[in-house]
């Protein structure tokens, strides 16, 4: 017997300002099965929740409907409150009369009518709710971290230090990510590799971390606690365990000039067999088969092999697929810079001395192509005047992206500062729109660049850059003075915006996590669950989630790690019980459900009689794999499969309640 309670929330004036909550309450009382209906100022507050709990107890409610804000806000709050009174949490339904009514409509009468409709709809749904018990799945206490940048490294180390085995998979030959490319870091100016390298080494030596560099995650299936992952270890052509990292091989490689160094942002060359940078971890070279003469010229060149003492070069190594089962995953795939060539007027790609921020980092770096001496890529001379342009691509919905890349203000200030330190008497100009320097010590840092290091900050955009007699003529506007300015610079550095790593959308699709329209992974809740992805057991860290600086990336790595350690502190994970179930009496085993299931959650089940003879084959749902998406229900002709929480008869009743 249905005893439904309806609770109409005012949300202060957020709802009550547009919806006649008293009317909604009155209408609720008239609905068959509703035994009580009340309105309250803030249902989510403690007193509000208490009134819900009291009513459940006093009225022996079998179900409750909250006409309130979006279920995405407080469904869990109210479910938890209901559980405390012994009600199954799935007997709590939310009629969203805030986001879908009061905030988006203005006509009070019509808004109230809509609120009444939505309330009635959910009463019909809750009447047909069945108790749902959550499913417990065992946890494989091993974690996978995808991406070995600073956030991935941090996550891996934290998890490993918590006593849990970690697989760290990095696409590049070395871990280190973007951070290891940086010179000094704002606002403290400590050297990036000095603080990064020890962490990289720690990763390599950690007994709980299995490091796969030059490897990619190729496939992920399964579910929280039980992800089956396939890692492709790309053929390195070097036997890692035997390699000493001595360098004889790359010194012997004849391919000196032609291969651009990715690590140095194409500002230098590397050999075909190479380590991307001297502090690479692991310090084991990779043979780039796309350029290696051995592979291009039919096996003739074996110079590296000849040079190698331990003879650990093996041209026959093949890509290897490693299969592992993990319980949780951290996605920290990092970022790329936007394509500067979108800004033709800046001449990137056309003028060698127009460089990106990361290129400038390499020019600053002691381990970089110029060994830390700032030199113009065009002629190797040291520039005396550099123009820095901020917001290249960022905050530009027309050509770039509308968001702020967050780190550019700070690294430009750092660049200008380091330039001033390294080249005495030099002058830098910074074109900016706004200066965003909001963390500890940031504002002081920028101010120092302006005041102590003499950088001239010009508020405005650059309209054009062209070359004239070896100089780059930068034409722009200084909107503060209202003047057009023209600067003859030796170099221009573009503070290019950041975008998600190329291919991260494919990673997201493989993992089944959502991402926003730019490709950044979406957190489960932007404020309250920032470390979790939309899929249970998969966590997010670093720039893959959105622009952030180093400390934030480290924090996010740690956050993901702590979530995983928390998850692994128990032996089982509870999966929501909103999963599919089969009506075996009417299932005819056509297995369309199996075909459309994205989670391989459907299998064949043989029903046998007492003598063991198979009398029927039916579909069967694996509760650990099923996510309750309901695609199978749609595929089933005879509706012999249904998904709990969104049962066919509930949807039917919802539609029925809307009849006019």
């Amino acid at each position: 017997m249905a005893r439904i309670g309806v609770f109409v929330c005012w949300c202060g004036s957020n709802i009550a300002g547009t919806v006649d909550v008293a009317k909604v309450t009155e209408e609720a009382k008239k609905v068959p099965g509703v035994v009580t209906a009340v309105d309250y100022k803030y249902m989510c507050s403690d007193p509000g929740q208490n009134s819900l709990r009291n009513m459940i107890k006093e009225q022996k409610l079998t179900g409750v409907v909250l006409a309130a804000c979006s279920p995405h806000m407080h469904e869990n709050t109210f479910r938890k409150a209901a559980v405390k009174e012994g009600l199954n949490p799935y007997f709590v339904e939310i009629a969203n009369i805030r986001e879908q009514v009061s905030w988006v409509h203005e006509d009070k009468e019509r808004a109230t009518q809509k609120a009444v409709d939505l309330m009635k709809m959910m009463v019909e749904k809750v009447k047909r709710d069945r108790p749902i018990e959550d499913v417990r799945v065992p946890l494989n206490k091993k974690a996978l971290v995808i991406g070995g940048g600073i956030s991935g490294i941090q996550a891996a180390l934290d998890i490993a230090n918590g006593g849990v085995e970690v697989l760290l998979v990095e696409k590049e030959p070395s871990i280190g990510g973007r951070m290891i490319q940086l010179d000094e870091t704002f606002p403290t100016l400590d050297c990036s590799s000095c603080i990064m390298t020890p962490k990289m080494v720690e990763v390599n030596q950690h007994p709980n971390i299995k490091l796969y560099t030059y490897s990619e995650v190729e496939d992920v299936s399964g579910y929280i606690g039980n992800f089956k992952v396939k890692i492709k270890k790309k053929a390195r052509s070097v036997v890692e365990k035997d390699c000493t990292g001595c360098g004889d091989c790359w010194n012997a490689c004849p391919m000196h000039k032609n291969v651009k160094s990715e690590f140095n942002m194409n500002l230098s060359e590397r050999t075909a067999i190479y380590v991307p940078f001297p502090q690479a971890v692991p310090l084991v070279p990779v043979l780039d088969r796309s350029v290696c003469l051995h592979f291009k010229k039919g096996g003739k060149c074996v110079k590296c092999y000849e040079a190698c003492g331990p003879k650990c070069i093996d041209f026959d190594i093949k890509d290897e697929i490693i299969e592992e089962t993990v319980g949780a995953i951290v996605a920290s795939t990092g970022y790329d810079l936007m394509d500067n060539s979108l800004y033709g007027e800046y001449g990137y790609g056309k003028y060698k001395d127009v460089v990106s921020g990361l290129q400038f980092e390499r020019l600053l770096s002691a381990s970089g192509p110029t060994e830390g001496v700032i030199k113009r890529p065009s002629d190797g001379t040291t520039p005396q005047t550099i123009v820095f342009i901020q917001c290249v691509g960022s905050r530009d919905p027309e050509k770039g992206v509308p968001y702020c890349s967050k780190v550019c203000c700070m690294y430009t200030a750092k660049h200008a500062k380091l330039f001033a330190h390294k080249v005495h008497g030099s002058q830098s100009y910074v074109f900016y729109i706004d200066i965003r320097a909001t963390s500890k010590g940031y504002e002081e840092f920028v101010r120092g660049t302006m005041e102590q290091d003499g950088a001239v900050y010009l508020r405005g955009r650059v309209s054009r850059i062209y070359e004239d007699e070896g100089k780059l003529i930068v034409k722009g506007a200084d909107t503060l003075s209202g003047n057009q300015v023209e600067i003859a610079a030796d170099m221009v550095v573009l503070a290019t915006g950041v975008i998600p790593k190329k291919g991260s959308d494919k990673v997201a699709q493989m993992l089944g996590i959502s991402y926003d329209k730019y490709g950044f992974f979406t957190e489960s809740h932007p404020k309250l669950r920032p470390a979790e992805s939309s899929t249970a057991g998969i966590y997010l860290a670093g720039m893959a989630q959105g622009p952030r600086d180093i400390p934030e990336s480290v924090v996010s790595g740690s956050a993901a790690a702590s979530k995983i350690l928390g998850l692994f502190s128990k032996n089982e994970y509870e999966v929501e019980g909103t999963i599919a179930s089969v009506n075996e009496a009417t299932c005819v085993a056509c297995f369309y459900c199996q075909r459309v299931c994205g989670f391989s959650a459907i299998s064949r089940k043989e029903i046998k009689d007492r003598s063991g003879k198979v009398i029927k084959v039916v579909a069967s749902v694996n509760p650990g794999l099923c996510t309750g998406c309901g695609a199978c229900v749609n595929a089933c002709f005879s509706k012999s499969i249904d998904v709990k929480g969104f049962m066919d008869d509930q949807i039917y009743a919802e539609i029925k309640s809307l009849a006019i």
């Binding site: 969203n96 905030w103 988006v104 959502s514 309901g630 539609i655 009849a659 006019i660």
Partner: protein, 152 residues
């Protein structure tokens, strides 16, 4: 029997100027997109009633028929953009089905202007608003006689 139909269920209201529109949306993208429209205090037509499903893959053609049966003048089906499905492929499967189902409805004489499909992500509050408003306007502009064959 050609001469009389007795006692079919009558309907009231729901006229051309104030049509009932039922939207079946997925929980992860479109519902969140609608939430965003709310949070952003965007205003849109109040003719729409939203029914939340886990995934567009769960939105059965039967729901559409049922909505028309119950007097809806327009039905919207909305889910995550291709590739964005929280459940990986639910929207792809439903897209394929709906491509065919739509053809079938059209062939049977249902005015396809009355059925709208959209991909609306969690960040597209504005798209939600424009889809709802444009759809509502379109429904209002249709001749009421072009109604479907499921409800008399």
């Amino acid at each position: 029997m050609e001469d009389k139909k007795e006692g079919t269920v009558k309907s009231e209201g729901n006229n051309v100027s104030d049509p009932r529109i039922i939207a079946f949306v997925c929980n992860w993208c479109t519902y969140s997109g609608a939430d965003l429209a709310g949070t952003s205090r965007m205003k849109y037509s109040d003719n729409v009633r939203v029914i939340k499903l886990p995934c567009s893959g769960r939105i059965d053609p039967l729901f559409i028929i049922e909505a028309f049966k119950k007097g809806a003048k327009g039905v919207l089906v909305s889910g995550c953009h291709p590739g964005d499905c929280h459940y990986i492929s639910g929207n792809y499967h439903s897209r394929r089905k709906y491509a065919a189902f739509r053809d079938l409805l059209g062939f049977l004489g249902v005015d396809l202007n009355r059925i709208e499909f959209s991909w609306i992500s969690a960040s597209e509050g504005n798209k939600w608003v424009s889809v709802i408003n444009e759809f509502t306007d379109k429904i209002k502009s249709l001749n009421d006689n072009s109604s479907d064959i499921f409800k008399k």
